[in-house]
Amino acid sequence: MIRTGRAIFGFHEGVLLALLAVVLCIAAWLEPAFVAPRTQLEIGTHAFELALLALPMTMIIISGGIDLSVGATMALASVVLGLLHQAGASMWVASAAALAVGALAGALNGFFVARMRVHPLLITLATLAAYRGLAEGISRGRPMSGFPNGFLELGTGTLLSVPIPVLALVPAVIIMGVIAARSVWGAWVYAIGGNERAAEYCAVPVARVKFLLFTLTGITASVCAIAFAARRNTAKADVGSGIELEVITAVVLGGTSIFGGRGTIIGTALGVVLVHELREFVGWRWGHDEIILIVIGATLIGSVLLANLGFRPKK
């Protein structure tokens, strides 16, 4: 099986780790309270959606695709969750329905990409508008809240004094990391991204893998919608707007090649943590939302430029 780019810890991860260390050292020096474990754990909940969505997005991008509709799918799932709860359904039923809708939305993307061979950028650009529109339409723009306490505990509670959302990320990252680096399925994803035709000749079920990747992304988006509802007690059609670009930023910052075939889950995890720490620290210390935008954009471009310096492909 093709193993190119499946290294677990490469040069790019080293750069990210160094950058992260610098950021945290500066943070510890300027704002000791910021790096306190308690603070870090609690602001960690802010990164939940970003981190969770970045995992399947990494796989999609490694396979050579992209999904712009994750935020819109989140909104759709959120609205379904809220409406069913308001209609008196139990949280179990509502959550299951939200997951089903997310899976369906993702599967539809996957169907068009895998079976119809429509370019993923094209189809998810279209469904980005369509799903969010659908969410606005069926909810009429209203927010829905008043979720039961047991459910809210999922988003705001702690286990062993670690917030549940942060705790939940750990197995998610490990499972996805193992799938990517150690399973046949992960190997297929890399193979497709490296050279789709070659993968096909090697009997990789290209269409099935792509279909499942998009479906998985849809399911992950609904998990995020449920987590958001549990944390902020709100389900609404504007949930997750613009998150697709943040997710792609973190994934690319993590060293995944936008052309596919190269990238790691550890890189993505580091990318997410770097974006998250930069955003939280700049906000904590200087309190300027505008500067956060500039810092993150510059880090994104800078990291890829630097990586290009390090990896000079042989002509």
Binding site: L30, H46, G141, R142, E290, L293
Partner: protein
Amino acid sequence: MIRCVSVVLAAAILAAGMLGVAPGAGPDRSDKKITVCLLPKKKGVPYFTTCAKGAEEAAKELGNVELIYDGPTDGSPEKAASMVDRWALRGVDVIAVSPNDPEVVGQAMKKAREKGVHVIAWDADAAKETREFLVNQATAQDIGYALVDAMAKDIGGDAPEGEVAIITATLTAANQNEWIKFMKERLAKYPKLSLVATSPSNEDQRLAFQVAQDLMKAHPKLKGIFGISSVAFPGAAEAVKQAGKSGTVLVTGLATPNDMKAYVKGGTVKSVILWNTIDLGYLTIHAAEALATGKLKSGATTLKAGRLGTVTIEGDQIMLGKILVFTKDNIDQFDF
């Protein structure tokens, strides 16, 4: 080799970048100062910028207040909630919040209170248990009623009649939806005013302009347009002006007087609804300082607020005063 150099380079650039911003930008940490965080619904909008101006004035006057003014530039309630969380962890003294979505931000406000931080709401309210006081310039009901009353007065007559339309921010905008609810309630008082459309403009002036154009064409008998977001108002007014319908189709909404002066003088807009935003920011900081120093306690009925004198408190609401209506006769008296 190149790799090592680039790692070092990256680290150096980032370090330099961070330190470059560092001098003077960080808050001064002397122990006596009270740190007050002022959160707008959306940063970068003149309405809130003028509020911040008043807040700075109050902070300077009081001397013991360290003011932090920050909010999401895209108005995202989730980002606003994250900021509240962050400030609460940082252990600031008071957080004053204008919640863009009472539910989303309210959750964070509740959590901040549990951590022992004073939380007040200003400009817009959230659920009672999320804050200690509300600095109240106008309730959603006041605003909704004032808008409809102003339109009715502008159209004129004992029983004003005609078709009116609302151009709102987004379909999901919590505050606007609250105002629209009360506007509809108030419209019942004027049976001959009929609401023909409520259209979103997605916080886009150009789209508001187009929506207004379309509304005028699709509803030739249209008499008035409410532009109830900061960019929908000028967008709609410009559309009416360019269509040559100034005076026939009246536009009203909420805006700072400076932003709408030209339209008021040109006759496209007869009245602009707002309150003194500088005073709102000013009063909020005074309330925050009084709360942190123990001068303001639950059950108080008055508050001394610098140049505003003694301000009354009704229940847990600190009242700023009346809604202002700017017309061409008085708009020159205001500069904000």
